[in-house]
Symmetry: C2
Subunit: 253 residues, 2 copies
DNA sequence: AAGTGGTCTAGACCACTCA
DNA sequence: GAGTGGTCTAGACCACTTG
């Protein structure tokens, strides 16, 4: 009951750039992903073996292996010893990345913009200090924003950050996501931990999001860390559930 | 501003088993994880370099590298070229794995059990057939279950599976998760794609979960695939949000 | 200049599946 | 027995950060 193996056209791998900044394994995985999305590699189809691919592309086996691993981690491929590598059925969602909601909306052509409802700097109380990993009394910035997509309110975003933000920085939040603004300031996110839940909307939240009073809200609480392991941002967001949801891919280990 | 490097006690890596079935990189990553959780490696602390660790453990660099990568993927460590590997702050949630809710509850000492509300086999209509990747008219099994934790109703679980399930199999669902039962039947999950959302409860759902009418529900829709890329199960679940939420860790790529 | 992680190579042996 | 992926080794060169 073994699937026949699908031979990919060699042209798919033309123009691999060995000198550029883009790693070879990523160039290969990008081309494989393209082949899967375009159904050149049909769902359920079997990929050539690592060794065969490596030989054909004149790459080492670890490099090809890494390219395949990228797609396995993202749930597009599945592999089994003794069998081979197989394309998973079903349409592929983009999945949750460590990007801001804003960028996701831009990417989906949803034309986002943001209204800053409140922005203030205050001294951290004990709970906030513990959450952000700063000393109590040190300055923290609180933001409250309303995010729109295609002119329709989508989410209420509340964030707390260590330190101060300039008025100019806050001004930029209208047409950009928080992460993009922080990135321009040199702060890069490395890891985030989040919890997704639900609750009923308050009267004010229903009003802001244009929902009926007491409607269900999708909520997300997130702490983001930079490459030094320090807290960059804590957020408590709520979404209109008829307009937004979280897509995830799980891979067994 | 470089963190001093923390030297791990050599005893931490005693007894690595080169002949057993457990891969070396996993043995190393498990020991590193232990050191992080026990705060032998404090949050914000810097790990020894890959090369140093590899030399000390008499392992190759790729093996040590892979061990570290496991923890980076799970959001416990963060690395930067030129800098080093650093332990991320904050307590560590277990994160969403491809395990059943049932196993998670057992693991958290929540004493789960399940009431099977309905179980039937019928011919697949077109929508269901498309969802499961089977031909229309072929048999599919529908399940509706109520999951309890510590005697309190937690979630309503609705699943559709290709094929038939024996009465004996269904009987096992009382004290076990669906994935465990399928695993005993030789079906292994490899990948799942899911979407998390929210909505208001119907009158019947509120009744079953012991919530007030119209309360907010956390919802999850999931399709699971086996190692052949075939659909094993489609589920539509809803959770009482004051009793359950989804924890996720995101890592920038 | 020295040290870090990121990429890549060219092999080797093993466990597993299938015909 | 042949073919698959899984693990492991021992190097090499590079880009980046810091002192």
């Amino acid at each position: 009951m073994l699937q026949p193996e699908a031979i990919l056209p060699t042209t798919l791998f033309d123009g691999l750039d060995r000198s550029g900044p883009e790693p070879l394994y990523r160039q290969v995985s990008a081309r494989l992903e393209r082949a899967i999305r375009d159904e050149i590699l049909p769902a359920g189809g079997r990929l050539e073996s690592e060794v065969a691919l490596a030989h054909r592309l004149a790459l080492s086996r670890p490099t090809v292996r890494r390219a395949i691993r990228e797609l396995v981690d993202r749930g597009l491929l599945v592999r089994r010893r003794g069998i081979g590598t197989i394309v998973v059925h079903g349409r592929i969602a983009r999945g949750v990345e460590l990007s801001s909601l804003f960028d996701d909306l831009v990417h989906a052509d949803q034309h986002p913009h943001t209204r800053v409802l409140a922005a203030s700097t205050e001294a951290a109380d004990h709970a906030t200090a513990a959450l952000l990993g700063v000393s109590p009394g040190s300055p923290v910035t609180r933001l409250r924003r309303l995010r729109f997509a295609d002119g329709v309110p989508l989410a209420i975003l509340q964030n707390t950050l260590p330190g101060r933000l300039s008025a100019a920085t806050i001004g930029r939040l209208r047409d950009r996501g928080l992460y993009a603004v922080l990135r321009e300031g040199g702060t890069l996110m490395a890891v985030a931990r989040q919890r997704i839940g639900a609750r009923s909307a308050t009267a004010e939240e229903s009003e802001l999001l244009g929902l009926t009073p007491g409607a269900a809200l999708l909520t997300m609480e997130r702490t983001a860390f930079d490459a030094d392991g320090r807290v960059v941002e804590h957020g408590h967001h709520c979404y209109a559930p008829d307009r937004y949801g979280f897509d995830t891919t799980l891979v067994s280990r």
